[in-house]
């Protein structure tokens, strides 16, 4: 019961703010609603007993990436952009495409749902405890190589971003 309320709350919040993200005229408003959507997703993670991911989502996504977004929006803030056309002229093609994709995926999930084990068969939440330790253990043993590759990726991205944004003089 409580579970249900929490899920509906977070899911509704996430979907509503996601819709607002893609429809707002003002980019800053979009960013704010994206933050809301990400926070709602963090709530969903918490409900799924992914505590570490919950806090990673907040620290990295909300506290890091979104700050970067807001920062850049302020740097390139253009009042002109507010009065321009916000959507492409062929927006309805995109929308139709998305609806078709949605219908297809919905059908797939709906049919495949029967094959999924029900929530009753899910292992107890304590399997994922202590979450931080388990994630850390997995990251530094089984997924050591991907972890290192990810760190190299970050380094490359950092250098790339610096080179991109640096002024050519």
């Amino acid at each position: 019961m409580l579970d249900r309320i929490v899920f509906d709350l977070f899911a509704g919040l996430a979907i509503l703010s996601a819709i607002l993200v893609v429809t707002r005229r003002n980019v800053i408003h979009s960013a704010i609603f994206l933050i809301t959507a990400l926070l709602a997703t963090a709530g969903i993670f918490l409900q799924l007993h992914a505590e570490f991911l919950f806090i990673v989502q907040i620290i990295l996504y909300v506290g890091g990436i979104m700050v970067l977004f807001v920062f850049v929006i302020m740097l390139v803030n253009l009042d002109v952009a507010l009065h321009q056309m916000q959507f492409r002229r062929q927006w309805w093609v995109g929308l139709l495409l998305a609806i078709a994709l949605g219908a297809e995926a919905t059908a797939a999930i709906y049919i495949g749902r029967l094959g999924l084990p029900g929530p009753e068969t899910a292992p107890p939440a304590s399997v994922l405890e202590p979450n931080t330790e388990l994630v850390g253990h997995a990251l530094f043993t089984g997924y050591m190589l991907p972890f290192e590759i990810a760190s190299v990726l970050l380094l490359v991205a950092m250098i790339g971003a610096v080179v991109m944004a640096k002024r050519r003089t």
Partner: protein, 457 residues
């Protein structure tokens, strides 16, 4: 019907105590912040050969209340071209994030809203969201000063959060847990506060936390001599008060984190040394002393009502003293009635709360002291300090502590040898780093970059 009610009450029971704590914190915090402001003004005044607020109440003791009324009654101005939604939202966002972070802070052994097993990350993550309040507020004001303040604030927070995070990791390695309560218990078991085990980490956290709370000498986002008031320039009245409250709440949050991580949380100094047990009497004695001082000052107040307030304040301190004294006395009563036992059981909670708050206040006092002593850094110097000194040193510090722990656990060096050794190594590397940085700074100095230094005449 009554059954259902009872059942739901039963279900709500685990929420009851946290709820009471939460209400208590939310109710007390604004008052506490107000008195922090008074403390700051008084300390500043006495460091600057003047008296500070003295008009409202004896020694200005009622000044925060008068200030609060003034701010509440002030006209609330929204600039014409401001983004109304964001302008309305931003101060509340700041305040919410600051208050939410307090949820995981253990003020005493029993006094904590929620003991999360990711407690420390929770506090760090939530307080990092406070920056949106500043950035969005600065942007929404539609003023250049505000915008520059907001941009500075974003850059500054992102940079110094890295250093602070690294410093925190050092302490985490020592504690081996993310739960704030367990971190304190770990320090109790080790018998040593982490500031002694990891002094470099504490220093880095100190500097980074000053920068994170936008306090001088790192108060770039609101530097009043440059940007008028930075991101707060266009705010007035209650919204401005919210920002102010958020700033002081953030100070309390970072001070709490520092206290928990490095200063032993609710533990008294040297918690395991038994001949120092008389320190348990210190809180009550201190309160009694304060009460006595207030009574001594009472006849010197000029107005009758000020005398009255002074006596009331003395009474308050005396009451505190009685509360702190009660469990101490109860443990020494031989009779051991159930009442006395219960009172005696409060001892760790009461004394713990006292020590915690004392440390928090000392930490904040340090903030204030630095503020009145130092000039303000320039923005690029701040960034250079953060990226070229603090972050490398903090990484070295983490490696040093890891090395020390490895020496202790793998090779069996005693705790008291391994960690000081690595601390010395860390300090040496930091000194080398500082030297090279200084040399580079000298080479790159802007002297004569734009206009020659040729001298004639």
């Amino acid at each position: 019907m009554t059954h259902a009610l009872q059942a739901s009450l039963e279900a709500l029971k685990p929420f009851l105590l946290p709820l009471i704590y939460a209400v208590a914190i939310v109710a007390v915090l604004p008052l506490l912040a107000g008195y922090l402001v008074l403390m700051e003004r008084k300390v500043m005044a006495h460091m600057q050969v003047r008296l500070g607020p003295v008009r409202v109440g004896p020694h200005g003791l009622l000044q925060p209340i008068a200030d609060a009324f003034k701010l509440l009654l002030k006209e609330d101005i929204t600039p014409e071209n401001a983004d109304r939604l964001v302008f309305w939202l931003a101060p509340m966002l700041s305040m919410t994030a600051a208050m939410l972070a307090l949820a995981a802070v253990p003020f005493g052994p029993g006094f904590q809203i929620a003991d999360l097993n990711i407690g420390l990350l929770f506090v760090v993550g939530i307080s990092s969201m406070g920056i949106f309040g500043i950035v969005l507020g600065g942007w929404a004001s539609n003023s250049h000063y505000s915008l520059i303040g907001a941009l500075r604030s974003a850059a500054q927070l992102v940079s110094y959060e890295t250093a602070a995070g690294m410093a925190v990791v050092g302490a985490l390695l020592l504690a081996g847990t993310l739960s704030l309560r367990n971190i304190v218990e770990m320090q109790e078991n080790t018998g040593v506060w982490f500031i002694i085990a990891a002094p470099v980490g504490f220093f880095i956290y100190l500097v980074a936390s000053i920068a994170e709370t936008n306090r001088a000498p790192f108060d770039m986002p609101e530097a009043e001599s440059e940007l008028v008031a930075g991101y707060m320039t266009e705010f007035s009245g209650f919204r401005w008060a919210l920002y102010f409250l958020a700033e002081y709440t953030n100070m309390i949050v970072v001070a709490s984190i520092a206290t928990t991580l490095f200063l032993g949380g609710w533990l008294r100094p040297f918690p395991t040394t038994h001949w120092l047990n008389f320190l348990d009497w210190l809180p009550a004695a201190l309160m009694l002393g304060l009460a006595g001082y207030c009574l001594y000052r009472t006849p010197k107040q000029p107005v009758a009502i000020q005398k009255l307030v002074m006596v009331l304040v003395a009474g308050m301190f005396a009451a505190f003293a009685a509360i702190l004294l009660a469990p101490m006395v109860a443990t020494h009563i031989a009779g051991a009635t159930s009442m006395a036992l219960m009172v005696a059981s409060w001892k760790p909670a009461l004394l713990g709360g006292f020590w915690f708050l004392l440390k928090v206040f000392l930490y904040i006092y340090l903030f204030m002291w630095l503020r009145f002593t130092f000039p303000r850094y320039r923005f690029d110097q701040l960034m250079r300090l953060g990226w070229q000194f603090l972050i490398p040193v903090s990484i070295v510090n983490v490696m040093g502590i890891a090395l020390g722990l490895a020496l202790h656990r793998q090779w069996g060096w005693p705790y008291g040898v391994a960690l000081p050794t690595t601390t010395v190594i860390t300090l040496l590397i930091a000194a080398a780093l500082a030297r090279t940085g200084e040399k580079k700074e000298k080479d790159e100095a802007v002297v004569g970059e734009f206009w020659g230094t040729g001298r004639d005449a």
